[in-house]
Symmetry: C2
Subunit: 199 residues, 2 copies
DNA sequence: CGCACCATGTAAGAAGTTACATGATTCA
DNA sequence: TGAATCATGTAACTTCTTACATGGTGCG
């Protein structure tokens, strides 16, 4: 479970409540990780039991007490250990590729439609990353932790690089399908070579 | 749950047992989808209850009876409906990016090590795709279903494009870290611009 | 007046992985 | 002799999502 270590990572920035951790997730690592409050609260509790974080209860009236979690030395060590540990590459798990894989089951016209839509969806995500998210991250860097600037930018770049690769692939796939539209045989025979050349 | 539809997709090729479906997964869609037998067997049963597949029991001696599942017309329709339905883009969920995001917690040297290792892992996967997997897929195309050739190749290309983007990103990140090694301030100030230019 | 924000959680369910259970055949 | 292949499944567990439960404050 990487969530435990993701939470430790967040708490290296500063002590936070579960609610604040969720906000941190939403405003910064959103593009490659996410977690719900219902998962965060119990996980913080288990981190406390492991001695990796401590809890300070700040009483409030009219709403639940704030429970501020802070990382311990042991927690910092555990996090650094985890960072250095081998990490198998994340594998893709993409239902859209299943649709393309069994593309023979629908007319080519329909495939072109879903490819175009999928491309647009990825474009929207990039547009969001480049405006709202980039601004949020830059704000976080300025306000909270200038040291993190490089790394936060790098991860944003990786997420965008993935989306750009996806968009390019949609374009090339659509082009190939349009070309092979009339003569299916030609399509098949030259598909692979054509893809390589268009890259 | 996309697994149900993935199974329907597989069964559009030909009737199969759960065991054979697993082999199909392992030899063709492995690079963007996977499933365990313990998940496949119950899912096939539920597909049968939905009327999307039928089961034919072939008795055997010395080993469990073969249960061959075939897709029905209703199943084909359901699959086509699913293919055409809107598909939100798969989001990244990559523990490695968490490590980079909180890169301030370990020395730069250690980050260079894990970036190099991660790059190598992705290179290995591509090498496997381009040899073993490509051969398996090509075999499947020749033996079973030439119609699928274009689509099977396309999905392989997408998976490889993702890995190549990842590798490029590792390279650029390592370069930036090496440059900013001595003077952290310079590193931070120019990181973003430098990344853009190196792309 | 209704919605968003703050702040905590529990419970139920879906999806996926790992371990357990059985047992004959074939190949090195 | 021991591993891989064929062939079925169940049970336990982890991870993640969605729904439920409470309730005050402030804004438009």
């Amino acid at each position: 479970m990487s969530l435990k270590h993701a939470l430790l990572g967040v708490l290296t920035c500063k002590p936070m409540t579960g609610y604040e951790v969720k906000q941190f997730f939403d405003s910064t690592v959103q593009h490659f990780w996410n977690a719900e409050l219902s998962q965060i609260y119990p996980t913080l509790k288990s981190l406390e039991e492991s001695g990796w974080v401590t809890k300070e209860v700040q009483p409030q009236d009219g709403r639940p007490d704030r429970k501020v979690y802070a990382i311990t030395d042991a927690g910092r060590e555990e996090f650094a250990r985890w960072v250095r540990a081998p990490q198998p590459p994340a594998d893709l798990r993409d239902p859209f590729l299943i649709k393309v894989f069994f593309g023979t089951e629908v007319p080519v016209e329909d495939l072109l439609v879903i490819l175009r839509r999928q491309k647009e969806e990825h474009q929207k995500v990039i547009a969001f990353s480049e405006t709202v998210l980039r601004e949020k991250i830059q704000h976080g860097i300025r306000e909270r932790s200038p040291r993190h600037g490089l790394f936060w930018t790098l991860t944003l770049e990786m997420a965008n690089a993935y989306r750009r690769a996806y968009i390019d692939w949609c374009d090339r796939s659509m082009r190939l399908l349009e070309e092979g539209f009339i003569d299916g045989d030609v399509m098949r025979a030259t598909a692979e070579r054509a893809f390589m050349e268009s890259a």
